[in-house]
């Protein structure tokens, strides 16, 4: 039920965030588009889409896109599932503080140590994976190790906020743990799951920092991500190629996020939210 009478009040609440966000994120967002359609970063003659077509023709970009999508398709769902399962275990088993702490800590570890450790384990005198075909495996491992803590915190907060009463009611009906899980907890969790999915997507961009420190700006082609391409373009002053490739990529991501958003709205209707 929407409170029509106080329509403008909402705007008042959102105003501070909107102004700041508008200036600092929306204007640069459209500024970026201006660059992506101009001929080169220093003379902005309008040249519409041939920047985009150039980028598509460039096979370095193709490889980068392939690697990034491969990485995201695999690592994001796996991470979400792992962190959800661990969150549940911790919540149900009332695990000691040490466990929570030890899983959360990796997010605070600087990328220098990450590189130092993984280079030793998977580098030349370790399993020698980084230079081989299976380098992507190492990257996914690093990603999962580093970000489970992130999602774990969100899930723990979500779990503790869950409505106890509903669970007790289902217990009385004799649903065993798995049925309870399937029909109550997961549906109840859709808004948080949506958020966790968005956050994991954003964190998947941050993995570039570690790969960059591991292998520099021209790594093993197997783990040549889109951010490498963007970073190299930035260094080569070809800002138009950078922006166009980034917009293509974020368009694809947005499609996925939009689906999540619709899922969230559907959930809201079902639960009788607004």
């Amino acid at each position: 039920m929407i409170f029509e009478s106080k329509k403008y009040k909402g705007l008042l609440f959102i105003l501070p965030s909107l102004i700041g966000f508008g200036i600092l994120y929306v204007i640069p967002f459209f500024g970026g588009i201006k660059y992506s359609v101009s001929k080169s970063s220093f003379n902005s003659t309008f040249v519409a889409f041939n920047n985009y077509t150039d980028v598509f023709k460039n096979n370095a970009f193709k490889i980068a896109l392939k690697n990034t999508c491969f990485f995201m398709i695999i690592s994001i769902p796996v991470l979400i599932v792992i962190s959800f399962v661990i969150a549940l275990m911790i919540y149900e088993l009332k695990a000691p503080k040490i466990v929570k702490l030890s899983i959360m800590l990796p997010i605070a570890v600087p990328s220098g140590t990450v590189v130092g450790f993984f280079k030793k384990v998977f580098g030349f005198n370790g399993f020698n994976l980084i230079d081989s075909e299976y380098a992507m495996l190492v990257v996914i491992l690093i990603f999962i190790w580093k970000n489970t803590g992130y999602n774990l915190i969100i899930y723990l907060a979500g779990l503790s906020q869950m409505d106890k009463e509903v669970i007790e009611a289902s217990m009385i009906d004799g649903a065993n743990y798995f049925q309870r899980l399937q029909y109550i907890i997961i549906p109840l969790f859709t808004p948080i799951n949506v958020f966790v999915a968005i956050v994991t997507i954003i964190n998947s961009f941050k993995i570039f920092k570690d790969i960059y420190m591991l292998q520099g700006s021209y790594p093993n082609p197997k783990i040549y991500m889109l951010q490498h391409y963007i970073n190299n373009k930035f260094n080569d002053l070809q800002y138009e190629k950078l922006t166009s490739s980034a917009y293509i990529f974020s368009l694809m991501i947005f499609v996925v996020v939009f689906l999540l958003f619709i899922l969230d709205k559907k959930h809201a209707k079902r639960v009788g939210g607004n």
Binding site: K9, G10, F13, I14, S17, L18, G20, F21, I23, P28, F29, G31, G32, Y35, I86, M89, I90, A95, K97, I98, V99, L101, S102, I103, L105, P106, I107, A108, V109, P110, G112, T113, F117, N125, W145, A157, G158, S160, Q161, D163, L188, P191, I192, F195, I198, I201, I202, F205, Q227, I230, F234, A246, S250, I253, F254, V257, D264, A268, V271, N274
Partner: protein, 271 residues
């Protein structure tokens, strides 16, 4: 069954914490030992060389520490306040084009950092000329984008949506204004979400490097993360001690904050 799961959990947590133990122990090793190739936890000869040289020669490390603390605390504070208001509005109140703006919020943070870097630079330059305040090479250049990210807003909105509407309606009937509802009802329930936001924003801004490198010029203004990277590239002998000291604040925050995450308020009781 429970025992078995607990053991599995312990193994997993051991796996996660192993690199951190590695960092902690190798901060007590000498440089040759670290570079000697194979991984070993217990250092052959235990020496405080790294810590000693950080204290005496890298005195500025602690200056940067203060910089980082200042930056993150302001950003956390700003983001929480603005996030709460905006999230409540997005979740529970209705106004024109609410969903459209929310989609814009989501879209904006999906973009990689380099894309918005140059336009951001030019926007700051325009602001600097209009209001005639110096933004480049000051902490504001980092704080403003930090406060106004849509990350906090989205997080809190999702949590507020979980609060059933009945509670709010009853409060509305009693004649409570929106702000009263927000402070009296929503905030207490939202406590774990706020602490999540605090911890996550702390982590994001504690590790941020790119923005600091681009927007800050004078070395004395840089946060700790940039200086740690400098140590990594130029002075690897002292790196592991630096890394350990770098992790400590987050460790303390986790220990303290973690308590609030788990204190599940029984919403039902409020009815």
């Amino acid at each position: 069954m429970k025992k078995l799961l607990l053991v599995v959990l312990l193994i997993i947590s051991l796996l996660y914490v192993y690199p951190i133990i590695f960092t902690f122990t190798s901060s007590f090793m000498s440089y040759e030992e670290i570079m000697s190739g194979n991984i070993h936890i217990i250092p052959e000869e235990f020496n405080l060389q790294q810590y000693y040289s950080i204290i005496t020669f890298k005195g500025e490390y602690f200056h940067y520490f203060l910089n980082s603390i200042k930056l993150t605390s302001i950003i956390i504070f700003g983001q929480v306040i603005i996030g709460i208001f905006a999230a409540f509005a997005f979740a529970k109140m209705d106004f024109v084009a609410r969903n459209l703006i929310f989609i814009l919020y989501i879209l904006a943070i999906l973009l990689p950092f380099q894309v918005t870097l140059v336009p951001n630079y030019l926007v700051f330059d325009k602001i600097q000329r209009l209001i005639n305040i110096k933004i480049f090479d000051t902490h504001t250049a980092i704080i403003l984008p930090g406060i106004f990210t849509s990350f906090g807003v989205i997080l809190l909105r999702q949590f507020i949506r979980n609060i059933p509407n009945e509670i709010i309606e009853t409060a509305m009937l009693d004649g409570a204004s929106y702000t009263k509802i927000l402070f009296k009802i929503v905030l207490p329930i939202l406590r774990p979400a706020i602490f999540t936001l605090i911890i996550l924003t702390f982590i994001d801004n504690w590790n941020l490097v790119e923005q600091a490198i681009i927007f800050l010029d004078s070395p004395s203004k840089l946060p700790l993360s940039v200086f740690l990277e400098n140590i990594y590239y130029n002075d690897f002998k002292v790196f592991y001690a630096g890394a350990v000291l770098y992790i400590i604040p987050s460790l303390i925050l986790f220990i303290k904050g973690e308590k609030y995450l788990m204190e599940g308020l029984n919403i039902g009781g409020l009815k």
